[in-house]
């Protein structure tokens, strides 16, 4: 009964298998798999490719980082000079001190410049890379075949485009400081050893202790961090579902139950985060203790060396400075651990999308369709979605230029597959499809799309004005063209009755319009696009008869002068077609005009005589019966 069963897969599962294959879509398992690694070489490597365009800039930034680190390192050294100069009583020299102060000023000005260059370049580049990553994913999604898109929920893709890219942002933000931290760490180690290698090594020995402690701490902390992330995704999932289903929730008076369930999830989320917090905080006293120990070493050993005359006081002060700075980067690197972990998991998910192969591509030297006559021809087409399960078998037919052909048949007979193939959403297994005499695989997809229009069953509208929706991507269409198209499908009337006419903004997916109105707009959109060939999938949901009549009339003006293949559900549409192709189980059963088919008394006649509003309505068993009867006679 749980609202969001989280099928969280075993963390140990190898991330190597690529579930997002060409036909796999993005499934649950992949989405929910939790990756433990805070550093995955392959992901980082691939990620580095996104840096390539910014090489020059990053090189500058790198120089700035080095300069920045050097200035950071030299500040204690300048202080040491000052102290040692001021200390040696016989050469106390005020002028020299002024010079040193000037040097200090020089160093910090350099520090300012280097820091500014480094942080702005790295910060901006990181931000740009995020947009690049998002764009790369998005472009890739635009090119993927429909078979992938069909199987993948929009919500899940959006999660990758948003949350995963967002996780990278956090990562890049901290990386800016992390890189500096690591360099500084290396620099400090070098300077300490150069200043006095005995004291240096002794001081650094505490780092060894830290490494050992971390080795014990890591596996435990990792588990806690992972759990915290899981509970977050559960809470967000539950929230998302309730937002999308809020109307149903209110109708069913489920508010209280859902709230209680959400409370449990949120409480679990709180607990797991607090536990993770304990793990990350426990490192603080350890690091601080070790800092104290290192300083104690400097004081006792270094102090004695000063007393013994083998160490300058200035060096001791410099050591103190370095030791204090030394643990800052270590501390922040510890905190960054979970950020890194999250980024690796997100990176993995991002690359999974980018790695899905594009299986429909333009041939090299593909032809751009220009002036064509609009004939459609299918030659021996066999096709299916799953290997070994063809949904179309050896389909042959031709639609002459200007002809309207209706495809009829029960659900699953292959009508939609035929229209999808003509638009090359998929490639045929066998045979070929010709549009205007050209094999669709020999022409560019873009030019094919400009010749072959499509009106879908579900009229999808975009946020924007009615004008923008009708015009859509036809750049050259004028306002007059849009109005003319709206008039042709008789939508002009209702549009002008709206408060802002053509400039009325459509709410989420055109929610402020009725289904029939949305349909008319999608017709108008197709008229503006003005393609030679039109593939039309009639809506199945019955609309009121007024709109129905309006749509039938609109259809007439839409189809006039075009080659049309209509997946017809309405008998009126079927009767109006020049020719009817009856499909059943992926094969053409009958072809002819309404009159011819009625006279033939075959499957069409039988189905027609059953008086269903649409062939889609007819229960399967009746069709099976009818088909059997027909083939028997």
């Amino acid at each position: 009964m749980a609202m969001m069963p989280q099928s969280l897969a075993v963390p140990g599962k190898p991330p190597g298998g690529r579930p997002g294959g060409p036909d796999g879509g993005l499934n649950d398992e992949m989405d929910e798999r939790i990756f433990g690694a805070a550093f995955d070489g392959r992901i980082v490597q691939r990620f580095l490719k996104f840096l390539t365009p910014y090489r020059a800039r990053l090189a500058v930034a790198f120089c700035a980082v080095v300069a920045f680190t050097l200035t950071q390192l030299s500040i204690p050294l300048v202080i040491r000079e000052a102290i040692d100069q001021a200390l040696v009583t016989d050469t106390q020299d005020g002028a020299l001190l002024d010079l040193i102060a000037l040097a200090f000023l020089g160093v910090i000005v350099l520090n300012l410049i280097a820091m500014y260059i480094q942080e702005t370049i790295v910060g901006k580049t990181a931000e740009r890379i995020l947009f690049d990553v998002r764009r790369t994913m998005y472009v890739h999604l635009q090119r993927l075949s429909m078979s992938f898109m069909d199987k993948t929920e929009v919500g899940r893709l959006m999660a990758r485009l948003q949350s995963d890219v967002g996780a990278l942002q956090e990562f890049l933000d901290t990386t800016v400081t992390a890189i500096g931290d690591i360099l500084l760490l290396a620099g400090i180690v070098t300077v300490l050893i150069l200043l006095n290698w005995q004291l240096g090594l002794l001081t650094l020995s505490v780092v060894l202790v830290l490494l050992i402690v971390r080795m014990i701490w890591l596996p435990l902390a990792k588990k806690a961090f992972m759990r915290a992330r899981q509970t977050s995704s559960i809470v967000n999932g539950a929230l998302a579902e309730n937002i999308n289903g809020v109307r149903t929730v209110q109708e069913m008076i489920r508010e209280r139950v859902n709230f209680e369930r959400f409370e449990i999830k949120a409480a679990d989320n709180l607990r797991s985060h607090l536990r993770a917090a304990k793990f990350s905080q426990v490192m603080i006293p350890i690091v601080d203790t070790l800092t104290g120990a290192a300083m104690a070493i400097v004081v006792v050993v270094g102090g004695n060396m000063v007393i013994g005359g083998s160490l300058d006081v200035g060096v001791m002060v410099a050591f103190i400075f370095y030791v204090q700075r030394f643990f800052d980067p270590i501390r922040s690197l510890t905190i960054q651990y979970s950020v890194m972990q999250r980024a690796m998991a997100s990176g993995q998910r991002i690359f999974e999308v980018i790695d899905v192969p594009v299986d429909i591509v333009d041939k090299p030297g593909a032809l751009a369709l220009d002036q064509i006559d609009g004939a459609i021809e299918l030659r021996g087409v066999t096709f299916g979605y799953l290997p070994g399960q063809p949904v179309l078998n050896d389909i042959n037919f031709r639609v002459a230029p200007g002809e309207t052909v209706a495809l009829v048949g029960p659900t699953g007979s292959g009508k939609t597959s035929i229209t999808a193939l003509i638009h090359r959403f998929y490639d045929v297994w066998e045979g070929s499809i010709l549009v205007g005499g050209h094999d669709v695989r020999d022409v560019t997809q873009h030019s094919l799309g400009k010749q072959v229009g499509m009106v879908l069953q579900d009229p999808f509208l975009f946020t924007g004005t009615i004008f923008e929706n009708i015009k859509y991507c036809s750049a050259e269409a004028t306002r007059d063209d849009v109005v003319a198209a709206a008039k042709a499908v008789d939508a002009h009337g209702f549009i002008t009755r709206l408060p802002k006419g053509y400039d009325t903004m459509l709410e989420q997916r055109g929610g402020n319009l009725s289904l029939g109105q949305r349909q008319l707009l999608s017709f108008a959109r197709a008229i503006v696009a003005d393609t030679k060939v039109l593939l039309l999938d009639e809506a199945t949901a019955s609309i009121d008869s007024h709109t129905e009549r309006q749509i039938q009339l609109a259809l007439k003006s839409l189809l006039a002068g075009r080659t049309a293949l209509v997946i017809a559900h309405r008998l009126a549409t079927v009767r109006g077609a020049d020719r009817i192709i009856v499909l059943n189980q992926g094969r053409i059963v009958e072809t002819g005009s309404h009159r011819e088919l009625m006279a033939k008394r075959g499957l069409y006649h039988r189905l027609y005589a059953m008086n269903y509003a649409s062939f889609d309505d007819i229960p399967e068993e009746i069709i099976r019966q009818a088909a059997a009867d027909t083939s028997a006679t």
């Binding site: 931000e127 947009f131 579902e241 149903t248 109708e251 917090a277 006293p285 007393i307 700075r325």
Partner: protein
């Protein structure tokens, strides 16, 4: 400013944690400030010996050891107290996040349809996830860190000024500069954050629509067009993202510089003072060590400012919803609905979507009554207001004028829960939750057993299909599960509603995707259920309610014709026209009439 104050107030309610956190912060800061003192002392001891003044080597060594022990102790204690205050900070942050998440969830569920019509679901999601997170980070990051910073600067500064006023003042000279830059950048950052958030949500919407309408995009070969759309939105967001970074890091660099400049001044003036003999080397070392302690916090000022700016924007977005009153809610002292017969009445009901100038009138002067065992059919062109009537009954919206009563009680005077329990609206489009078929059907009544569930699905003509599934009623549906067709979803919606056996049933065009024959079977199966109940059927398929006791023909929000099927046919008006149309266009009704001559028309 209110937003941040409000967040701070929320934090203030965790008195114990906050108190403990602040106390530990003070203690940790004190221990941290002790470290420079011990270091300074150690330097002095080592140096004094070298200078040939003061104590013997043995005494100096003992002093050094003492300083080392103290340093270690101070380090350990500082770490422990820091751990406690950090943990308390995070605990407060997480608890506030938890509280906000619950409050947000609760409010969201109660907001009326009008709100959900207006606000994009993606936007609600962003607020519930990212904005709550932004507030949480402010609490555990910025809030306590600011306290640490103030204590370190304040207490440490006080101590240093006590030792040497001039050097102390110099050491703190960067504070006003940092404060000034922080204030300025916080204002600009806040503006940028808000604008950036808005542009990002536009980008999100563009991506979401593109992916949702990918078939349209492909069908129109609109890839280039869509990419241009994406790039425009993306570029306009990048500009702001760049500005944010520019502001943030310019200020960070400036703050760090002012800090180092102060350190340089301390060094310069301090070493001259050493020459003059005014201070010891140890004192200078103490000053410098103190400044080294401040290095990290100064770097964090930028982060604090950034996260405060973000909390400001995020808080505003979250609190906006939390402060809103649902347009529809229980009156104070509302009593549960007392159901006697189950008579529903509309009395001169007017309704408009939206308010003020943008309001679009949807219903005008609607009157009707449906009693137990009676049925009402409603028909009319799209956008005529049919569905609006259905939405007014369970108070998804409230009428602008007139009233609706059930058994004589104005529905605005009774509790929402009791009202919605009495009214079952079967929607045209229902939402499937990611759960089993079983729990989706029993969504409104968790106590329903399998038998009742099967009864409901059986009446809705869905049982056979579910039963044919390999995992039957345990099959997962919804976003991650099995996809149901439009007709199947509608049947599930019907099953969901009739399982609850409401006193008044409204079918809101809920059979549009179900074929006429199946619909007839459903109505036949529901006969028993509807025998003693009021039923309202909204449909455009006349056969759905041909036998209803009364039929209303609605156009532009007004009832233009009313009567029984026969009366309306005899009237020869709009209804008759529609009836003839349906016959003409081969809808089931018409076909029934022309079945004898299938080749006709």
């Amino acid at each position: 400013m209110n937003t941040v104050v409000r967040i701070l107030r929320m934090a203030a309610r965790y008195r114990f944690r906050l108190g403990l956190g602040v106390v530990c912060t003070v203690i940790a800061a004190n221990f941290q400030l002790l470290i420079p003192q011990f270091l300074g002392a150690a330097v002095d001891h080592a140096q004094s010996l070298l200078a040939g003044t003061g104590a013997s080597p043995a005494e100096a060594q003992a002093a050094l050891q003492w300083a080392a022990v103290m340093l270690l102790t101070a380090g350990v204690l500082r770490g422990l107290f820091t751990m406690i205050h950090n943990y308390q900070g995070e605990a407060i942050g997480q608890s506030i996040g938890y509280e906000l998440r619950l409050a947000y969830f609760e409010k969201l569920q109660r907001m009326s349809f009008a709100y959900h019509d207006r606000v994009h679901s993606g936007d609600l999601m962003t607020r519930g996830m990212l904005d709550v997170e932004g507030i949480r980070r402010f609490v555990d990051g910025a809030m306590l860190r600011t306290i640490v910073l103030v204590i370190l600067v304040g207490y440490g500064g006080y101590h240093l000024i006590g030792i040497d006023p001039v050097l102390g003042a110099l050491a703190l000279s960067f504070v006003p500069v940092v404060a000034w830059r922080a204030a300025v950048s916080s204002i600009t950052l806040r503006r940028t954050w808000r604008a950036l958030q808005e542009r990002m949500s536009i980008l999100t919407r563009i991506m979401e629509e593109n992916l949702g309408g990918i078939r349209v995009v492909r069908a129109f070969a609109a890839r280039a067009f869509e990419m241009a759309k994406f790039d425009t939105a993306s570029d306009s967001a990048i500009v702001l993202a760049m500005r944010r970074i520019q502001i943030r890091y310019t200020n960070a660099a400036f703050m760090t510089f002012s800090y180092y400049a102060a350190m340089g001044l301390v060094l310069w003036v301090g070493s001259h003072k050493i020459i003059e003999g005014a201070i010891t080397v140890g004192t200078l070392a103490e000053f410098l060590a103190f400044m080294a302690i401040l290095q990290q916090p100064v770097r964090q000022v930028g982060m604090i400012v950034n996260s405060t700016a973000r909390a400001f924007v995020s808080g505003g977005r979250v609190f906006e919803l939390l402060d809103m009153d649902p347009a529809v809610q229980d009156k104070p002292g509302a009593a549960p609905l007392r159901l006697t017969d189950g008579v529903i009445r509309f009395e001169h009901v007017d309704f408009a979507y939206g308010e003020g100038e943008g309001a679009s009138p949807a219903l005008h002067d609607v009157n009707f009554e449906v009693g137990p065992g009676k049925s009402l059919g409603i028909v009319g062109p799209p956008g005529s207001g049919k569905s609006t009537i259905a939405h007014l009954i369970p108070r998804f919206y409230d009428p602008t004028l007139g009233r609706i009563t059930i058994d004589g009680q104005d529905i605005r005077d009774v509790t929402l829960d009791s009202l919605r329990e009495a009214v079952g609206v079967v929607q045209q489009d229902t939402f499937l939750f990611t759960a089993t078929v079983d729990s989706n059907v029993a969504y409104g009544d968790l106590s329903a057993d399998r038998e009742r569930i099967v009864n409901a699905t059986d009446s809705a003509q869905l049982h056979e299909y579910i039963d044919s599934l390999p995992t039957g009623y345990d099959t997962l549906v919804g976003e991650r599960g099995l996809t149901l067709s439009g007709g199947q979803r509608q049947r599930l919606s019907i099953a969901r509603s009739i399982l609850l056996t409401p006193a008044i049933i409204v079918f809101d065009d809920s059979t549009a995707s179900i074929d006429a024959a199946t619909e007839q079977r459903i109505h036949a199966a529901l006969k028993e259920l509807t025998r003693a109940r009021a039923t309202i059927i909204i449909s455009h398929r006349l056969s759905s309610f041909m036998h209803a006791d009364e039929i209303l023909f609605i156009d532009q929000g007004r009832i233009v014709e009313r009567g029984s099927h026969e009366e309306l046919l005899a009237l020869g008006g709009r209804y008759k026209e529609l009836y003839d149309l349906q016959a003409d266009f081969g809808d089931d009704l018409g076909l029934a009439a022309s079945a004898a001559a299938p080749e006709g028309a």
